[in-house]
């Protein structure tokens, strides 16, 4: 059987590709990994590598020709093939057999002596056609391992647990703790029983035994699932801006002095919550969610505050919700934030206290972090990563001076918000932060 080399789908949006250059000629021997051609996609020029060993039998699509994804562009003869059957060559170059969802960017397992999969001509590599043990399938799913890319070591190429463990860097061990029924005292009896060999320390038999694993908490599971979903489905991009924080810090000092008697102590974060909320009323697309075929503009402006939980409560983080933050005073925002973070750390937040956020702020400034990027908290369209106020040399009225600056980075859902919109939002935020008196009225 000849191996068909098809136009690969090299990006999510690629529908067709152009051959810029063939690196091989008919008759050349190639091995898996050899570059066959340069292909221009809608985004970039990329190399097409061979997944198989063989001899180039035919080059079907010439340099400069554009063909749709899935179209056969060359034929590779396996080394033991005597010839390529004629009927295979009767291919309509302009009409790919099936361009729908053709995925060939997956490495295809090499044919083995006991083939377990139809050859590479298969249009849609089907998971169902692979032999995979149930636990291997489950582990692959949990660790995002592409089963198509694995050559199983079990009988007839079955992918088994150790194949996955080898790939995921041996980080998993058996998480299901042994529910042993060696009940305390009875275990003692066993160890003294003459007919039973004593329990022996187990010799290290496999590399993964030596690593430590701990089962993950429910919260960690949720964080893992949600953030993978966010990072994989939301096209993130980031925009950073620095703010002159001196005016805000000065005003904060004044306010805190005057409010000391009433027990109020405003943090920089409280100002940020109010600034972000006010800016959102001006830029409603920041208070929106991507809805598949529509964009949902939320009425209330609910700002989420990322709260890290202490180690003794199992770590992790939750997002507390400051509802209608655009309508709340600094004092109310400060009190609610304090309430939410204390409650989160001590007894945990209720679903109500975490629900319905439309925008999230993650602040690592208190740890001295200068700049970072955050992952969007779905269904939000944006998250603001806030760094510390840093003393920096600044130029003011032509003079070099020491000023305090803070850098913030917005992560955005490009399906909802474009770069220029993000820039405008940050500009509004900058005006609010650098002219903080407006926040009081």
């Amino acid at each position: 059987m000849p191996i068909e080399i098809t136009m690969p789908k090299l990006s999510d949006t690629m529908e067709a590709g152009t051959i810029l250059h063939w690196h091989v000629n008919v008759g050349d021997d190639v091995v898996a990994g050899d570059v066959l051609a340069d292909i221009e996609t809608d985004k970039a020029t990329m190399e097409l590598q061979s997944f198989d060993d063989g001899t180039v039998d035919q080059i079907i699509v010439g340099v400069g020709d554009q063909v749709r994804v899935g179209t056969t562009i060359a034929l590779l003869k396996e080394d033991d093939d005597s010839s390529v059957e004629n009927d295979v060559m009767v291919l309509d170059v302009n009409e790919p057999k099936d361009t729908q969802d053709t995925q060939i960017d997956l490495p295809v397992p090499e044919p083995t002596s006991t083939p377990i999969q139809s050859p590479t001509t298969q249009e849609e590599p089907s998971i169902g056609g692979l032999r995979v043990s149930p636990v291997a399938r489950r582990l692959a799913e949990e660790h995002g391992v592409d089963l198509q890319a694995i050559q199983g070591s079990g009988p007839a190429g079955r992918i088994i647990k150790r194949d996955i463990l080898q790939i995921v860097g041996a980080t998993i061990e058996t998480t299901a703790a042994a529910q042993t029924t060696v009940h305390g005292s009875e275990a003692n009896v066993i160890s003294r029983t003459s007919t039973v060999p004593p329990m022996q320390p187990l010799a290290p038999v496999s590399p993964w035994q030596e690593n430590r694993t701990e089962p993950i908490s429910n919260m960690r599971q949720i964080i893992a699932r949600r953030l993978v979903e966010s990072k994989q489905t939301i096209p993130h991009f980031q925009v950073t801006m620095s703010f002159d924080l001196d005016p805000l810090l000065e005003m904060r000092t004044t306010l805190n002095e005057q409010l000391e008697s009433s027990g109020v102590r405003l943090s920089v974060n409280d100002f940020l919550v109010r600034c972000c909320a006010l800016a959102m009323t001006k830029h409603p697309e920041f208070n929106a969610s991507f809805g598949g075929d529509c964009i949902l503009y939320h009425g209330p402006v609910n700002i989420g505050i990322a709260i890290a939980l202490p180690e003794e409560r199992g770590g992790g983080l939750v997002v507390g919700s400051i509802r209608n933050a655009d309508q709340k005073s600094l004092r109310t925002i400060s009190q609610e934030t304090a309430y939410l973070s204390n409650k989160a750390r001590e007894s945990g937040l209720s679903v109500e206290e975490m629900a319905d956020t439309t925008f999230t702020i993650s602040n690592l400034g208190m740890f001295g972090v200068e700049h970072f990027t955050a992952i969007i908290n779905p269904p939000n369209s944006a998250i603001l990563a806030v760094g510390a106020a840093m003393e920096k040399p600044v130029v003011r009225q032509g003079e070099l001076a020491v000023g305090r600056e803070m850098s913030v980075t917005l992560s955005l859902d490009h399906r909802v918000i474009d770069g220029a919109m993000a820039a405008l939002y940050l500009k509004t935020l900058k005006e609010l932060i650098e002219n903080p008196a407006a926040l009081l009225v």
Binding site: S133, P134, R162, A177, A178, T180, V189, L202, V205
Partner: protein, 332 residues
């Protein structure tokens, strides 16, 4: 409860005797009957000295008529006594199938709850060693198929005593399967009172690569195989089910979820067996955790041979278990 104050080691047969004697001292409804249990002190000396202590009213020699004395025990149990019936071999219980399966196991149901049958049927099960086809029965798979009875297979003296005391106290018919090959094995058995609840499997060896599940005598070969396999780097967990009905599938499944592979070793024939039942349940419970289908080791599907070498080859032995574990763990 069993923190020992001494290291007393006794034989399996002595543990059985202690269990019966202690229960007979505490409860005068309990009595022992069977072939040669009294004057001859038991065909395998399990009841040695019991006639002297309890007298011929409570330690009763019967004729060679399993159907008759089993039926008598059913009647006695229905009238409020708690008989212990000793079969010299479970092979001989086949002629008593009607009283033990049709009467004892169903009486509570058929009488609408009026009469239970708190009887312990006990005796040697499995190959005793060159006893040939008709006297080497493993009855567990055949009898475990019947609802209404409990079934126990103790592996060592400690379990034999604790499980037999529990069996005598149980209000249901309990099929208690001993092994002639285990009667002389010894282990620590405390003098203090203890019982072992039914339905609690015991992990006799901990391991991470493969779970070996068995009951009774084959556990010896399982543990031997585990040692053998450890030298090859295959780390086996050996689970002693202890009781077949009730079956502690939870402990077995927890172990399989840890190891992802399993070999069930069952000395009965493979077809419609305890082993096939456990495999089936594990496939259902652990499906997502299995790296291979549950493998099984049984006696070969032929009548037990008489010749020593053939009998050894016929039984689930260390070699067969090792091969099954290697296959289950893809180490062939």
């Amino acid at each position: 409860m069993t923190v020992a104050t001494n290291n007393r080691v006794i034989e399996y047969r002595e543990a059985l005797r202690e269990a019966m004697s202690e229960e007979m001292r505490q409860d005068e409804r309990v009595f022992l009957l069977g072939e040669e249990v009294a004057q001859y002190n038991g065909a395998y000396k399990v009841s040695k000295g019991m006639l002297d202590e309890f007298g011929s009213r409570r330690v009763i020699d019967t004729p060679i008529s399993e159907s008759g004395f089993s039926g008598m025990a059913v009647g006695a149990a229905m009238r409020g006594l708690r008989p212990i019936v000793e079969f010299m071999s479970w092979s001989f219980s086949l002629v008593a199938a009607d009283p033990i399966l049709n009467n004892a196991a169903k009486m509570l149901y058929m009488s609408g709850g009026q009469f239970g049958c708190p009887i312990v049927f006990r005796g040697n099960d499995g190959a005793g060693g060159q006893l040939a086809s008709t006297h080497s029965w493993c009855v567990e798979s055949m009898y475990a198929n019947v609802p209404g009875l409990k079934m126990v297979i103790p592996y060592d003296a400690y379990d034999a005593k604790g499980l037999l005391k529990e069996a005598i106290r149980d209000d249901n018919p309990v099929f208690f399967l001993e092994s002639e090959r285990l009667l002389s094995t010894t282990c620590h058995v405390p003098e203090e009172e203890y019982t072992i609840p039914f339905g609690q499997a015991l992990i006799r060896r901990q391991g991470t690569h493969c779970t070996i599940i068995s009951f009774g005598r084959p556990l010896h070969f399982c543990l031997e195989a585990a040692e053998e396999l450890a030298k090859e780097g295959i780390d086996c967990e050996v689970v002693d089910g202890r009781t077949i009905r009730p079956l502690d599938i939870d402990t077995m499944a927890a172990s399989v979820k840890k190891t992802s592979t399993c070999v069930v070793v069952d000395q009965s024939w493979s077809f419609a067996s305890v082993g096939s039942e456990i495999a089936s349940q594990l496939h259902a419970i652990c499906f997502e955790d299995l790296d291979n289908h549950v493998h099984r080791v049984h006696s070969d599907d032929v009548p037990p041979p008489y010749a020593y070498n053939l009998e050894q080859a016929y039984l689930p032995n260390t070699r067969k278990i090792c091969e099954a574990v290697r296959s289950a763990t893809y180490n062939t």
